[in-house]
């Protein structure tokens, strides 16, 4: 069971309080009707699913209820960075380097 720090509550809590929301930074297109079927499938279903350093969404569902983003190494399951929704995606490559990957 992972230990996750909610950036809004500022506390570490067990994973049971959280719900993972899949890959982060996949914005719903502004004008869906203007998108091709391929583009819509890309938005709906295609995921990077990285083996290694990965940005994903979490929600403190049994806490403050807020969504936030986290960068986690999907091999070691270690969190490398946790940040609030709306903040830009960190440079994954440099985070990976810091983590010695």
């Amino acid at each position: 069971m992972l230990l996750i720090e909610c950036p809004y509550c500022g506390v570490e809590r067990p994973e049971l309080e959280f719900r993972c929301g899949g890959e982060a930074h996949i914005a719903r297109p502004e004008d869906p009707s203007g998108k091709t079927d391929e583009e819509w499938a890309e938005f709906l279903y295609m995921r990077t699913n990285t083996k290694g350093v990965y940005a994903e969404r979490w929600r403190h569902i049994h806490g403050c209820g807020r969504f936030f983003n986290a960068v986690r190494d999907t091999v070691s399951d270690k969190f490398l960075k946790i940040y609030k929704a709306g903040e830009p995606m960190p440079d994954l490559a440099s985070l990976a380097k810091e983590a010695g990957k």
Partner: protein, 417 residues
């Protein structure tokens, strides 16, 4: 290659088993193959076997980054069944069962396919509706599946608690008598031995590090730990690592990889005659021929390639097992492990061509790929050999995520009202 039989065994007993040959070779890779299969799990080895045995193609290599059968083939709970809802799925899994039934004889390797019956428990009115829909759909499709009352369910599986004293009492069950289990390692080994004897090179400890494409976009071969291997056709069958490999060819796939856990108890004398599954309270259990209770647990909620999972996932499943089989509380867990499963949005596999000419993919089996092994390999071999899908896997395209023609086995079972 010596044919396996009791006589052969007895003969070898006289020579103290010193004369058994290798079940497969350990060849160095050649510079070029007609077809390279990436992933020496059950599905990949079966693909190679059928390419060689049914399509007459012999210049084939199967590459694996580790040891053959070391991925999900050797980590699952070995359940075989075909009573899926949609006719596309039922056809695919039934194709596998048809092959399972003669597999030991075909491969001359006892894969211990045991048709002890798979019983899926209903705990709610909604479950009953869903299972009955399955049963009716299956009957039309020619797939065996039948409804049992709680009493009939207990008769089929005496340890089952059908009293009302549990949180979600058993309200009935769908039973597929032709379903059952098989010995997972033997499936990989049997196909490996079969493919090897037909000339297929199985190259272990040879990780693929790149997929090379030519100027026309078509596949030219794979970069590996043992150098570049040329091949005009590459089939990726690497459950757990499909996204990683497909990215090497620049193809994005609708997959997420999650750790799936399973566990066994200490071995005991026969205590459990069949396979019981409960999707509602998350319990999957059978007893191996060795005597261990084999139990499937759930997946972690996040992407992970770690082959381990959280204890709360295991605990949740054991809770359910102990509700349904309260005598097993005193049984003890011997070993708990994880595999990495590739999960698609509609919980159905992707088997077919990709946008890259010469690149084929067989992935997304989620938590249930083992049961399909023979059928999956069989239709994938057809797809690669003919460069067009077999009618059975034709619906399982990557393109269905664009058109919306999903084969959604999960949504149909979701909770209602």
């Amino acid at each position: 290659m010596a044919r396996y039989s009791f006589l052969e065994l007895a003969k070898n007993a006289f020579s103290a088993h010193k004369n058994w040959g290798r079940q497969w070779r350990a060849p160095e890779p050649k510079a070029e193959y007609d077809i390279v299969i990436v992933g020496a799990g059950g599905h990949g080895l079966a693909t190679a076997y059928y390419l060689a045995s049914e399509h007459g193609l012999k210049n084939i290599a199967v590459l694996d980054k580790g040891w053959l059968g070391g991925g999900n083939t050797g980590r699952n709970t070995t359940i075989v069944r075909s009573n899926y809802l949609w006719e596309e799925s039922a056809a695919l899994y039934q194709h596998a069962i048809d092959l399972w039934e003669g597999l030991s004889q075909e491969l001359n390797y006892n894969v211990m396919y045991s048709q002890r019956g798979v019983m899926m428990l209903a705990h709610t009115v909604h479950d009953i509706q869903v299972f009955k829909r399955h049963i009716h759909a299956n009957r039309l499709a020619g797939v065996q599946n039948e409804w049992l009352t709680p009493e009939e369910a207990r008769e089929f599986c005496p340890p089952l608690n059908i009293q009302k004293n549990i949180r979600y009492p058993v309200m009935g069950a769908a039973l597929q008598r032709v379903g059952g289990t098989a010995r997972h390692d033997a499936v990989a080994w049997g196909y490996a031995r079969g493919a090897d004897s037909l000339g297929v090179d199985i190259i272990q400890n040879c990780a693929v590090t790149g997929i090379r494409r030519g100027a026309d976009g078509a596949v030219e071969g794979v970069e590996t730990a043992k150098g570049f291997i040329k091949a005009k056709k590459v089939g990726v069958v690497a459950a757990g690592h499909t996204s990683v490999l497909m990215e090497m060819a620049g193809v994005r796939v609708p997959l997420e990889s999650n750790p799936l856990q399973a566990l066994v108890s200490e071995p005991v004398k026969p205590a459990f005659p069949c396979v019981v599954m409960s999707n509602t309270i998350h319990a999957y259990i059978s007893q191996s021929d060795k005597g261990e209770l084999v139990i499937g647990a759930g997946t972690d909620q996040f992407v992970s390639y770690s082959q381990t999972g959280g204890i709360h996932i295991t605990t949740h499943t054991i809770d359910a097992i102990c509700e349904l089989f309260p005598m097993f509380r005193r049984m003890r867990m011997l070993r708990n492990w994880g595999g990495i499963v590739d999960v698609t949005p509609d919980r159905s596999p992707i088997i077919g061509k990709t946008p890259v000419p010469g690149l084929y993919v067989n992935c997304g089996w989620g938590t249930g790929g083992f049961k399909a092994t023979p059928g999956s390999g069989h239709v994938f071999a057809h797809t690669i050999a003919k460069d067009e899908p077999h009618p059975i896997n034709a619906p399982f395209t990557l393109d269905r995520f664009r058109t919306g023609r999903l084969i959604d086995e999960a949504a149909a079972a979701a909770v209602a009202h």
